[in-house]
């Protein structure tokens, strides 16, 4: 009898320990409610929807808005110690349409995981997201998304932070409200790495090429780059949604070195001369977006080509499960106006 009691006690202790372990490190288990539907990112610092953007949301039956709340960046305190701080917080001019599900997104500078203990700000991080939602009448948040280009070196620190965010979410989510799930952006190359401890992943099917490399044809999207990683999609341990690009930009090189991205420069600028395909040369120096472009500098115009998106999509679809959502990056009438309604429908269709 004594031995049986001892054994039961042992089992009890063991169970308690396992239970505790589960509480600390919650592995991605059952997926909370996640409706499949057309989605779009909102990545500006001011939330104000134009008529065209509202029309886009309605026409394409957009159900979910991935709204960037703020970035977490580096700053230095009085003792020159690196500290993480929120920057570029979105300013709400308009109210978010109530029929849209909002997923707050926070971009985190990966270098912070080298230089400081991010776990110390996990609580502030969660409280800020929840307060922002409450203050701006964004109700029914069911998911929060972390956007970080983590690497093998920062993997552990990042994953620890994600777990800590999970713990803080459990602590601060008002009682009676269903659990808020966590999602994370997954770059193509990260498909070969251990998945982060979140409920879902959003596969970023853009920024596939080397932006700083002068030889790159189009760093936004190239089917060949996608093809390299497409085979890993099916075996990836997290349920995935996919984000496709609908943006364009100009990549500025001077002295053969990458200088900056220019989002407002267009190929019809009178100071540019076509070299070939999407490459232009500056023939006369001029100011653009606060920067001075000198004669002889090179500009590479990049856009998200519809056909390229469709080809990449076909590559990825083979490995994806049926219940995934397509997200467009990002909601901006200037960029989206370059696509026909049918083209947008084709990107969303699956």
């Amino acid at each position: 009898m004594y031995k049986i009691s001892l054994f039961l006690l042992y089992l009890l202790v063991l169970t308690a320990c396992v239970g505790k372990q589960n509480a600390d490190v919650e592995p991605p288990t059952a997926e909370p409610q996640h409706d499949v539907g057309n989605s779009v990112y909102y990545w500006k610092t001011t939330f104000r929807l134009s008529d065209e953007e509202r029309y886009f949301i309605e026409t394409h039956n957009v159900k979910r808005l991935y709204l960037r709340y703020f970035d977490v960046a580096r700053n230095a305190d009085f003792h020159d110690k690196i500290i993480p701080v929120p920057i570029a917080t979105v300013k709400f001019i308009d109210t978010v349409p109530s029929n849209l599900e909002v997923v707050p997104v926070v971009f985190i500078d990966n270098s912070l995981f080298y230089d400081c203990d991010m776990n110390q700000v996990a609580e502030n991080f969660v409280k800020r997201i929840l307060t922002m939602s409450a203050t701006n009448d964004i109700n029914g948040v069911r998911e929060i998304q972390l956007d970080c280009d983590w690497t093998k070196t920062t993997e552990k620190a990042y994953f620890d932070f994600v777990k800590n965010v999970r713990t803080q979410l459990n602590r601060y989510t008002p009682k009676g409200i269903s659990d808020i799930s966590l999602s994370a952006t997954i770059r193509l190359h990260q498909l070969t790495m251990t998945p982060p401890p979140v409920n879902r992943g959003i596969l970023m099917c853009y920024n596939t090429g080397g932006i700083r490399n002068r030889q790159t044809e189009n760093s936004i999207l190239a089917e060949n780059d996608v093809a390299l990683y497409a085979k890993h999609v099916g075996e990836y341990a997290l349920p995935l949604d996919v984000a496709y690009p609908t943006f364009s930009w100009a990549v500025w090189f001077s002295g053969k070195k990458f200088q900056a991205l220019l989002r407002e420069l267009t190929p019809d600028n009178e100071n540019l001369k076509l070299l070939n395909n999407n490459r232009f040369s500056v023939i006369s120096g001029f100011y653009q977006e606060g920067k001075y472009l000198s004669a002889g500098d090179e500009i590479r115009f990049e856009n998200s080509d519809f056909q390229e998106i469709i080809r990449a999509k076909k590559r990825l679809e083979k490995g994806l499960k049926k219940n995934y959502s397509v997200i467009l990056y990002h909601l901006d009438d200037n960029n989206l106006s370059k696509y026909s309604e049918d083209e947008i429908n084709q990107i969303y269709a699956h």
Binding site: N75, V85, P86, V121, N124, K127, R128, T131, M132, T135
Partner: protein
Amino acid sequence: MKSIKFTLISATLLLSARAFACTNPPYYPSEYYVFYSYDMVNHKKSVSIDELSLREWRKLVGNQVSINDIREVVYRYPLDSLKILLNDSRNKNTFVRYILKRRDTEIVDYLILAKNCETARAKRADAWWYPTKEDLKNTDLEMIIEQALAYKGKRLKIRYLLQAIRAAYSAKNYDLCLNLWEKEIAKMPSSAVKTMCRGYVGGIWFRKGDYEKAIKYYSAIGDMDSFWWCADNLTTENSDIQRMKILYKYQPNAPELDKMLQQICREAEIAANQKLFDKNEQPFDDMYDRRYARYIEKRKRFIELRNFALQVAAEKRTANPAMWQYAAAFLTFIDGKTALAIEYLNGAAELQGTSYIKENIGVLQMIFQAYTTKNYDSEFETAFLPKLQWLDQLIVRDLDKKNIPDDDSWTNIKESYGEFETIYNFSQYYPFDMLRKILLSVMIPKYLEQKNYTKVLLLAGTASYRLRQLVGYKCVRPYVGYKFFEYWDRSTAVFKFMNLLPVEYIIEYQDILKSGGRNQFESFFEERCYKNYDYITEIIGTKYLREQQFDKAIPYLSNVSEKYIKQMSVYYYFRIDPFGKIYKTRVLQKPYPACKLNYAKKMLALQQQIDSLSNGYTKAQAMIVYAVALKRSVSEAWALTDYSDCGTCFDYNYGIDINLFNDIWRRKLSQSVDTYLNKAATISNNPEIRAQIMLARTLDYYRPTFNKRQFAAEFGKTKIASQFAAECDTYRSYFNQSYFPEYLQQVWVYRKE
């Protein structure tokens, strides 16, 4: 450690671009900065506004309460402690005791309100804070404003208004802030708290984009960080001179202007002063030209500053117009217009200015006078002497001054002076730097041109020694240096000139040091020179050795103490016997103090022998011994005639290239060696003599020109060849090769001996 710290800062003050591996960076005296407008030593550190506020608290509660105790309660006590303050009867804090004694609820209520205000504002200042809906109503801040404005008393009125302004500012109720300022606070007497309020008003105008208004408020409170934020918004021109103009517009007496002025003048000075002061320098790289090219490149900017400085001096809005005119004069001088610069400077001397600037004007006037006088005659010397005396008085006066104020870890020059300060021309302190610059970079080149070498030595002696004399420095290692170990005796400007100038001037210099100057001008310098007669006498004796005037060398060398000779760093190199066997490259001996003296005596005896002998063989023999010793005195046994074996190796103490003097005696001495050997060859045809001459001619460290095969073939039968073979294995191999087998036996005989 203090010395190192001082040296480091001194070194950084002199931004020499010269770089050398393994040594400290050396400077030329020409590189000492002349222009100083920012009086770092006498600059009064401003008291912080918080500190002033605490003083006002103390005024309110009385001197029995300590400032530290007020600080503790006002800034560090948490809200909970303040709430129980009136019940905290055991508290020993004098401010708390004051409150308890009087049951001063008025102060306690205020402190609680201020703490609440601080908490509400701190919450909003946190980078991670995002307002809740409740926060957006600013209920907490509104309550603070209400309470603050409800105060009807007089004692803490302005402090309550400060809290109201703070809370209203955080709540973005800028109209309330401005109204409180205009209607109430602006009319109150000046105080630290009023200054604090003024800062918020400046902040409001800044936020409203009215930078003209904002900058006036920031100027009034001396908040320079905020001032520059506004200034940057008031101009599109990104230039420091433009910023100076803005600062001058609002704060014509701002200490920052002194600093900025100095900074730009320094920039011009670094680029141009070598061009002005080291005209004869032979730079070993193109740094000299590159520096001046930088001046030309930026000339427009320096001229803009000069014109601005003239404008400021003329407007007389500032309390120190002399400083601006002084800057204009200096920049004009740098620009090569000396006559105009003198005119400006004389004008500056008449303008109102601080004593610091007036002194610096005096120094620049001295430089101008020394620089522009063409002939240094007695008239100039008489006129210039009082100015030198004045500068010397400043040197003595500032001897005890701390190098850097407000920092207890910093020392004065007396405590920080060390071995290398003068050797590397480190900047010491302003008057002494200027004395050295005037003497070494302006006056000595003129005296050299006039061939007035005794004056050169007197001036160099003063420049090298004056500060040592004042600080009573005792040399740790009073060696006469060797190679790169630049010890003081060997590395000062005065040594350099003694080493190079003709010996008669060194004798005259020593005579002046011993008997006093022949006039007041000489006496001024004589009193400030290094008077170590062993040191100078030894140099005179050595210079006579170089001149082969051994009879004159002997009395000087006999008068140098053994102790001094033994501590010379070249003493170790007395180990080479100049009279060693002719076929040996070096014959070692134990160094001894009379080495130079004995060399002189033996050489004198040989000279006399050569003069008196008539026998060709013996005379030739004496000539060879003499020539060999002479040759060795500039090669293996160099320590007999020199203080370093690297001839014209690096020496930075004096900027002008005067190494040309250095080779004259060497060349003469080498010619003498040839002359004696040629004569020996003409007076005797003896194979022994011819063999020795061949050995003597090829005497060198490694005998690269000595042809052993030829020597063996030609002189193999001589006694000297046998001795050579007995002691030299390589040479003996030629015998082994059976050229002269019959002599091998003889060789072995010598070897046994």
